[in-house]
Assembly symmetry: C2
DNA sequence: ATGGTTGCCTTACGACGTAAGGCTGATCTC
DNA sequence: GAGATCAGCCTTACGTCGTAAGGCAACCAT
């Protein structure tokens, strides 16, 4: 007789899970209090018993993504135990990137938030620990964190989206005009386009660009580190324990 | 009697100028069709005779900012005539950054737009021309453009805003907790905080970070250029392609 | 039973962007 | 001049959003 115990009583976690599912499927614009409530079989105002408004909901999404990143990065870190700082950070960032690829809305949401999610402090602490252990000064480590920017969280924050496929023909038609007024750009597109391996990403392979930029920064930081290390006695590079 | 010839008849340019003034003064959130119309002494719907809706208005703002960047960068380029590629790009990017500092809302707007503003093609063409002229391959130049990312347009796209001053005391109170659970982060803050010169930016000096990141990328690109010029198979800084 | 608490709903308000159509005064044609 | 045309601005209204305020029904401990 107690077969139907009303319904699952709607909790913060259930609401957040539904929100993530909704946003993964239909994008940020679809995330509406009314819509989310409808997906949960509930009226909009009921959400306010579990979430402090829309902003609180977005904060919840951010926290969830950050938690996912932290977990992925921690797993990557154990895989990389004993490696040098480059491969350790590299694996960390690539793990974070894998999370971002699962949640394409996350980058824009992350960088639109006015407050820093609590979880990222711990995440940055781990990166910083790696740098300091490997002989970086606080000065350079600090600047490295800024230089990494969004790469540390797994996304490149492209300023402009690549063409979304539908206007590929239009882009091709523009190429003729492009070639006249923008010769270098046209030549570059022509030279690089054949190398496109993943058509979903257009002719720019984001993964390659991501790793290339990472290596550029790593190379530069390595130089900066050895430059500042020569100033002191070069004895304590090994120091592998946390 | 003929003194008042009705009023200035409201044009696209007048609307755009008012919109920029409004957004400069009160931020993006204040930019509303009704509010903008009110600032112009007009009703909301009147704007639709000169602008194709809100999206068109935002496109207009973006175009205006891009035009400002292009102009500033062109002026910088003439100053740098004859310099090497690093200083030429450096001056370009710093000129763009000066524009962004005048319009703090621009970065978020730029990266939220779904289409690429027409003006940036010309802007990238100029950067590309500099790179190609100085011996970069299209391959590396292409990746360089991606690596620069938002830096080329003058902003670092910090993922999270620095503390806005009001919660500085709260941040200080958190430092005790921070020191226990996040020792490296606490130590870095302690080590770096004394160096704060510009209190408006908190203890992170954005200008310094901006230029440091630029130099990191330039250093790395310089290596990549000479590496590809000599065509040697292996470098000491193994640059794995995965 | 009873009174409180929890969980959800109903109604309503003030934003927002914008579709549809009306009024007004300047300019043009005869 | 008189009437027609038309651009420029306004009025009204609709559907969306987030959310404040309060109601009702089922549960719980007493």
């Amino acid at each position: 007789m107690g077969a139907r115990k009303r319904r699952e009583p709607l909790s913060r976690d259930r609401a957040l899970a539904a929100a993530i599912a909704l946003v993964d499927a239909e994008g940020m614009a679809a995330l509406t209090m009314r819509r989310l409530a409808a997906d949960l079989g509930v009226e909009a105002m009921s959400l306010y018993h579990h979430l402090p408004g829309k902003e609180g909901l977005l904060d919840g999404l951010v926290d969830a993504v950050v938690a996912e990143i932290v977990a992925a990065a921690a797993a990557a870190e154990t895989d990389a135990a004993g490696g040098d700082w480059r491969t350790r950070l590299r694996l960390r960032f690539l793990a974070a990137r894998a999370v971002m690829l699962r949640h394409p809305w996350a980058p824009a949401l992350l960088s639109s938030r006015p407050t820093i999610p609590a979880g990222v402090y711990g995440y940055y602490e781990g990166i910083l620990a790696t740098l300091i252990d490997c002989g970086f000064s606080y000065r350079i480590a600090h600047r490295a964190l800024h230089a990494f920017g969004s790469l540390a969280l797994g996304f490149a924050q492209e300023v402009f989206q690549p063409a979304t496929g539908a206007d590929t023909d239009a882009a091709a038609a523009d190429l003729a005009v492009l070639a006249e007024q923008l010769p270098h750009l046209a030549a570059m597109v022509a030279a690089e386009m054949h190398a496109a391996t993943d058509p979903t990403l257009g002719w720019c392979d984001s993964q390659t660009e991501f790793e290339f930029t990472l290596d550029l920064l790593f190379d530069g930081l390595e130089q900066a580190r050895s430059r500042s290390a020569t100033r002191t006695a070069a004895g304590t590079t090994g120091h592998s324990d946390l």
